[in-house]
């Protein structure tokens, strides 16, 4: 009888351990920013857009992506969030967006925070430096003469 109890206990412990082991949460999202600003210059023009490209891997499936670009000294902020569509509910994706930089965005230094949340509630954030520069005012018709000295 005693041996039986020990075996039963062993059975229960094995079961509990097995389920606990299998329910391990997927690892947190991983983000690699591959391009910030045109050709990864970290620069964006006022009234133009910021190229943003990132490789994301989220075992727990992407629930949302939140991009925040805020002034280093100042309160101006550009925010963009993605909660539906092509990046959501997927494990791996290449995020590629051209984020509008309003014409009234003050010139200067900014921080960019790129946050991914998965379905388990785990988050990861990648950061980058962005500089908002003056619009060079390139016009389609003037293009070829623009860089004359």
């Amino acid at each position: 009888m005693k041996t039986n109890n020990i075996i039963r206990l062993f059975a229960i412990v094995t079961l509990v351990a097995a389920f606990a082991a299998c329910r391990k949460t997927p690892s947190a999202p991983k983000i690699t920013l591959t391009e910030v600003g045109h050709e990864n210059t970290g620069k964006a023009e006022q009234g133009d857009d910021l190229h943003l490209e990132a490789d994301i891997l989220a075992e727990g499936l992407i629930k949302s992506i939140y991009v925040e670009i805020h002034q280093e000294s100042g309160s101006y902020e550009i925010e963009k969030s993605y909660t539906t569509g092509k990046y959501i509910g997927v494990k791996n994706t290449e995020f590629h967006e051209h984020i509008d930089i309003p014409a009234e965005a003050p010139l200067g230094e900014y921080h960019l925070h790129f946050t991914v949340t998965d379905n388990e509630g785990q988050t990861a954030t990648a950061e980058a430096h962005v500089e908002v520069i003056e619009n060079d005012g390139v016009d389609d018709d003037e293009e070829e003469h623009h860089h004359e000295d």
Binding site: T3, N4, I7, R8, F10, A11, I12, T14, L15, A17, A18, F19, A21, C22, T34, E35, H38, E39, D48, H51, E53, D55, L61, G85, K86, G89, V90, K91, N92, T93, E94, H96, H98, V138, D139, D140, E143, E144
Partner: protein, 160 residues
Amino acid sequence: MTMKKNITMKTKYILIPLLCALSACSSTDKDTAVPEIIPVGDATAPLNCQEYPRGGAIFFDYLFQDDTELGAYNLEIHNNFDHHTHSTEAGECKQDPVKEPVNPWVLNKDYPIPAGSTSFEAKQTIPVPEDIDPGEYHFMIRLTDRSGWQQLKSVSIRVL
């Protein structure tokens, strides 16, 4: 006799939980393969460097395959007036001078795939608007399988 029965009972107590433990771990998340975007011969569209007149249409046609189950797909178009790159880029075509968009074509649409499909030929007619900026565009195909793996194909096209 009773001794033998006892041993069988004991074995059961040990074996059953062990089997459960093994099956519990193996049943989920076995899908590690990314779905595939495959050309369908002459009908395949769009292809890299193809040109499309405004007011015309792109007759999208590709074959999708996955080893377990396809999920959904998304088609997206954004301008490439500034000659930016994609890590999955198929290649460059002839380039116009860099220009700033005035009224660029923007498309971003999700499409379902019937449940249970492992192979699906996706066909869509995508009208090219009359009033958009002509020039170079990126046509992005994002295919996701049921467990969330995504394949991306980017095609460079030109709107005339």
